[in-house]
Amino acid sequence: MNRQSFRSPLARALGLGSAKRGSRHWLAERVTAIALVPLTVWFVASIIARAGSDYTAFVSWLSTPFASVGMILLLIALFHHTALGLQVVIEDYVHSGARFAAVIAIQLCCYGLAVVGVIAILHIAFGG
């Protein structure tokens, strides 16, 4: 709304033009969501079934091939979905130069956490 500007309304509305992408991000959010439906339900059910159990019981469950593969898949889908989702939230509300930095930071954190989680699972599974 700068009254000193001679830019035409159309020039403002066009901005820098179309990025000609965005569908990949949108689709990936859906694909990870679909993967997360069975994975998270399985995870929550497994935790409920082991409510109140001790360390050895928990670790011996986690080190079964089925559970460790499931957990690794869960972590990958979960953090990919989280990174994509939080990126949208930041793009919605952050309107300064911090936007780009925040998106990068979110992605690094998410993929970093996913790797930490996967290594921990492998550690438990193979008794490191």
Binding site: R3, F6, T40, V41, G52, T82
Partner: protein, 141 residues
């Protein structure tokens, strides 16, 4: 908008005011559930960090794991866990509603409202069931 700059030496006129948006717009099931989906998503992101800490503690050995377990069974830990469970089910049901919309189904206003209230009811029921089951299993151990 305003192609003409103010005449030299004159103060620029005040900018046009922006009419109120979120300050006056009526909360509706549509917008409230959208905000809820987003808020629970952000909360679950934090819970995901907790998940990694929890697994890492288990990998690190019985003592670190016991510390996390103690925090989880504490009064505050249980409240947080309950909030996370409800957020999870709300985000899950809301997410499924979104996936159905993405196939261009269920866009009639009536369907939008029915699916919306169903999401609210289903997440409440699922949360209650999950906690009842969890407490039962823990109690019978």
């Amino acid at each position: 908008m305003d192609a003409k700059p103010p005449p030299l030496g004159k103060k620029a006129p005040r900018p046009r005011p922006l009419s109120p948006n979120i300050q006056i717009y009526r909360p509706q099931l549509t917008s409230v559930l959208s905000i809820a989906n987003r808020a629970t998503g952000v909360l679950l992101s934090l819970a995901a960090i907790g998940l990694v800490i929890w697994i890492s503690a288990a990998a690190a050995g019985p003592e670190p794991y016991a510390v996390i377990q103690r925090a989880l069974v504490s009064w505050a830990g249980q409240v947080v866990l309950f909030g996370v469970t409800f957020s999870f089910f709300l985000h899950l049901c809301g997410g499924i509603r979104h996936l159905v919309w993405d196939t261009v189904h269920g866009f009639e206003l009536r369907s939008i409202y029915i699916s919306g209230w169903s999401v609210v009811a289903a997440s409440a029921v699922l949360t209650a069931t999950a906690w009842a089951a969890g407490l039962f299993v823990a109690g019978s151990r």
